[in-house]
């Protein structure tokens, strides 16, 4: 089965400069995203997983151009969108949308639900009549599990899960090709998480969506994604199919991450001999492989050289000198 590339990043970097001094000078950089080459296939869900500070949210923002990359290219349907003018970016926003983590701060509390959802239509399709917009909103509202009466209510009248549905409707109204989901269920109760996960999967089928699903929750990402990319300190360290990530993880960090997840099964206790140490300070990254100080398999080469992300099988990548 041929997979069409919807998005392809090429040597993507994002550095945040640290300025010091009375006359501000750049003294150092926080290397948030380092040399990322990632491919998203049409209609698939790619999970992007990692712990705090790994750069996953930043990567999502670079792809949607909410943040400007320091270096590199982002190809959307074979065109480098980082070179787009402001006018062109506006057009691309119809195709790349975002769902945010916090259902409380991501909605304007002064706008009604209907107004929040129809706003993208006003911006991108100014020739639509008011009645036409209302019709489009009405059709969508039920798709996301809300009711028609909810259109005239305000965000504060809804629970977290319902607000997330509003955010999803807002992202969906322009019928985008790609939706970047930045921790969309992390702030929700467990039973509501399940509802939203099911909803996202159903909508993907109905609207033929491609998802970049960013999360720290391995169980959720394995359930919803076809492939998973694991990030550590700004770099992708492994990409694999989600069905093989649990038993056949290759990178020592991925193995440790999976081993650290407490299973909802009292007979499966965590093996605590896994991971020691703290996530390093991004301003003082270790030399060589940034994971080597915490790696049980580290050897001499790892201390001085950074391994490349190698494709060891079709669509299976790992960044480690063991391979």
């Amino acid at each position: 089965m041929s997979k069409k590339n919807l998005v392809r990043t090429e040597s993507l970097f994002k550095y945040y400069p640290i300025m010091k001094g009375v006359i501000p000078k750049v003294v150092d950089n926080i290397k948030a995203v380092v040399d990322v080459n990632l491919i998203l296939h049409q209609s698939e869900t790619l999970g992007l997983v990692g712990e705090s500070g790994c750069g996953k949210s930043t990567l999502g923002k670079l792809i949607s151009r909410l943040e400007e990359a320091t270096h590199g290219k982002v190809f959307f349907e074979d065109e480098n969108i980082l070179e787009y003018s402001n006018k062109q970016i506006r057009k691309i926003r119809r195709n790349i949308q975002i769902i945010f983590q916090d259902p409380y701060s991501s909605l304007n509390y002064r706008q009604t639900v209907g107004s929040i959802i129809e706003e993208p239509l006003i911006v991108h399709f100014p020739n639509l009549k008011r009645s036409e917009r209302k019709e489009i909103v009405k059709k969508l509202i039920e798709d996301v599990g809300l009711r028609l009466e909810d259109i005239n209510r305000y965000p504060h009248e809804f629970s977290g899960g319902q607000r997330q549905r509003i955010g999803i409707a807002r992202a969906l109204i322009l019928k985008p090709k790609l939706i970047i989901c930045d921790e969309p269920v992390s702030a929700l109760d467990v039973s509501i998480q399940a509802q939203i996960i099911n909803l996202l999967q159903d909508l993907q089928e109905i609207y033929n969506l491609t998802y970049l699903f960013i999360t720290h929750d391995l169980s959720v990402v394995k359930h919803i994604s076809k492939r998973i990319a694991v990030m550590y300190m700004g770099r992708i360290v492994e990409i694999a199919e989600s069905k093989s990530i649990y038993n056949q993880a290759l990178h020592p960090y991925t193995k440790a991450l999976i081993a650290a997840v407490p299973a909802p099964n009292p007979k499966l206790k965590i093996d605590y001999t896994i991971l020691d140490g703290e996530i390093p300070d991004p301003l003082s990254l270790p030399d060589g492989c940034s994971f080597h100080p915490r790696c049980p398999y580290a050897f001499e080469k790892c201390r001085f050289n950074t391994p490349e992300l190698k494709e060891i099988e079709p669509y299976r990548y790992v960044r480690c000198f063991l391979f």
Binding site: E51, S191, A194, Q195, N198, I258, A260, P262, P264, N265
Partner: protein, 333 residues
């Protein structure tokens, strides 16, 4: 020296909560946050309280340690029997001697729970001086001993750090050090790892289990994470809308849950270890009810696939479905 508690007795539990009821008097009306709950905890054990937002698990913890802000909160009735004494009858002064010494607590977000203006070493020494009457130097030594115990590296340097200079995992270790510094019989941990990365969470859970073995402290662990409960708890209580819906030993809760809510909760969690890829998660329809607007009868009835007429009219009692397994559901009465 750290003293280990070795006496245990099933008939003489460390903590016995009897008919505890806590209300909140708000502008929009009275909210019954906990409705007459009963449970007990034996010395050296870990009891997990699980539930979603608004179920009353944090209010239960705060009621036991008497940190409910009054007003608007009020512990209306019940008994909290700690080592045979009802501490609900204690004056504020007597309770201050209990907090930090007999019962201590660690909170969810260490960054917001620690005093940002005070060096971390001093925050812990303060507790030690207050409860153990040691000198400043003595308290400092004890603090460094505790830092070693919780795995904080370079403890004599860390003593002089401010919380913001430490990572989340280190802050939580410091909070655990503070909580255990006076050898409490009971430690209440309210979502202690929710704000931490998963690898750091594993370290903290490991630490808590290790310390429990060494010191013999009992733990009341509050969490919404079923994985954490499976790792840590000996017994589990499932709460919903201020009520205990099910309570059982941890293996029974996972292998043979009785209450439809517990079953629904377990089915809605994606399981990392599951070999078969589930296309869809089984969900509990609807939302957690507002405590201002609870359904009559069983509080879970409006979301329950198994509810029938009796469930809508009358609240079921908590009954035994097997030895040490209780369930609040008309299906089993």
């Amino acid at each position: 020296m750290i003293q280990k508690y070795s006496e245990r007795s099933e008939s003489n539990p460390l903590l016995k909560v009897i008919n505890l009821k806590t209300n909140f008097y708000t502008e929009s009306g009275v909210v019954n946050a906990i409705a007459e709950i009963n449970f007990s905890l034996n010395q050296g054990d870990t009891l997990g309280i699980v539930g979603e937002s608004g179920c009353g698990k944090t209010v239960t913890a705060l009621s036991i340690i008497r940190l409910i802000k009054s007003p608007p909160g009020k512990i209306e009735s019940g008994q909290i029997i700690l080592e045979g004494v009802d501490i609900l009858k204690f004056s504020r002064r007597e309770m201050r001697k209990v907090r930090g010494k007999k019962i201590s607590m660690i909170f969810q977000e260490p960054m917001t729970s620690l005093n940002p203006l005070m060096k971390i070493g001093h925050q812990i020494s303060e507790v030690i001086c207050l409860h153990q009457g040691l000198s400043k130097a003595g308290a400092r030594n004890k603090t460094i001993e505790m830092f070693n115990m919780v795995g904080i590296r370079a403890p004599d340097k860390c003593f002089f750090n401010y919380p913001h200079q430490m990572s989340g995992g280190m802050q939580q270790r410091a909070m655990i050090a503070m909580a255990l510094s006076c050898n409490p019989r009971l430690m209440i941990a309210d979502e202690p790892t929710t704000a931490l990365d998963v690898t750091i969470q594993a370290q903290i859970l490991n630490l808590m289990q290790k310390l429990q073995k060494e010191i013999g402290t009992s733990i009341l662990l509050i969490t919404h994470n079923m994985g954490v409960v499976a790792q840590m708890a000996k017994n589990v209580i499932v709460m919903y809308a201020g009520r205990i819906m099910e309570s059982a030993p941890v293996e029974d809760i996972f292998e043979q849950p009785y209450h439809p809510y517990t079953i629904g909760l377990l089915e809605s969690i994606p399981n990392l270890a599951s070999v078969k890829a589930k296309r869809r998660l089984r969900i509990i329809p609807g939302n957690v009810p507002s405590l201002f607007n609870l359904p009559t009868g069983c509080k879970f009835s409006n979301r329950c696939a198994k509810s029938y007429s009796k469930c809508l009219q009358e609240e079921p009692p908590l009954v035994s479905v097997s030895p040490s397994h209780m369930c609040k559901c008309w299906l089993y009465v």
